[in-house]
Subunit: 187 residues, 2 copies
């Protein structure tokens, strides 16, 4: 085997290895997306509970990254409970801490149908949640990339990995439908 | 009376009026500061409760601007309650909402011994608190002027009036003492 042939074989072997790694990464990403969509559907089911109470339909679930178990569920109840802290994420963080008996949720993923506000983004950082999956963005008030990005702020002592747009259309449509109905009922 | 004399009298009258207004404003400011110090002392008493539990000593009270009554009190219990939401301000906002049966605390002043973090500043804005009085600033993590200023952010739908440094030294000393003790006990 000549030197040139050896060289070509090495290149071909490297290329095959790279392609296999890319394939594996794409497969892992597809599997992760499938999982993320599964939990976002759970968050959407929570949002529907808010809708039924005529609350802005936002739902949230907290998942243990190690076991894949849903640790807590919550939905917006601000008007129902007359409580500024009644947002879906706050409820989920509170219940998650209680379940784990720990203020650190540092091995969990939080799924929420709408981009968190400043308070909820702050609570996510305070609870050291490492990964946040968002359905629809909230251009007017969101603090995970829209107005501010409190989840990935280098000045804070904790930053999250953020995934945006998982079942984004479904999450966004639920919001549009809610506000359309609200306008019609007011009109 | 000549024209010049009339002119001088008018000037003197204007000056006297201005001085009286300035005096009244200074008196009102001094009275407000006295009131603010009174409520900050209440917040400091709450902070001492946290200190006794070996929690970072932060205390908070919520006052009704119309009646001057303290609506709710709270102190940091994050480690004790294993709760990321266990900050003084969150407790005070929760209790205030429950007391008033309203998520809007739009006629209240919140007194806190240390500059709020991102979560608590967010909760203050979400609860529409119009006035916030802060003892000591928190250069490393504060979100009411230090790292960010979420309380006076023009992009949000609500902004607070913020007063800083009321009994600032006392509030700051309590923090220093706490961390000094902590280092000594660790050493």
């Amino acid at each position: 085997m000549g030197n040139e042939e050896k060289h070509l074989r090495r290149i071909a072997a490297k290329k095959a290895k790279l392609e296999a790694a890319e394939k594996a990464a794409a497969k892992a990403a597809a599997e992760q997306l499938k999982l993320d969509e599964k939990y976002m559907k759970e968050a959407l089911r929570q949002a529907k509970k808010a809708y039924a109470l005529k609350e802005v339909p936002i739902g949230c679930v907290l998942v243990d990254n190690e076991t894949g178990k849903v640790l807590s569920r919550g939905y917006n109840r601000r008007n129902t409970d007359h409580l500024a802290l009644g947002h879906a994420e706050i409820t989920v963080i509170k219940r998650g801490c209680k379940k784990l008996n720990d203020w650190r949720l540092d091995h969990c993923t939080l799924y929420v149908t709408l981009e968190p506000c400043q308070m909820c983004a702050g609570a996510i950082v305070q609870a050291r949640v490492p990964r946040v999956v968002i359905g629809a963005m909230n251009a007017k008030a969101g603090c995970a990339g829209s107005i501010f990005n409190l989840l990935e702020e280098p000045k804070f002592n904790h930053r999250c990995e953020v995934v945006r747009g998982v079942l984004g259309e479904e999450c966004s449509e639920m919001m549009s439908e809610f506000f359309k109905e609200l306008r019609e009922n007011r009109g």
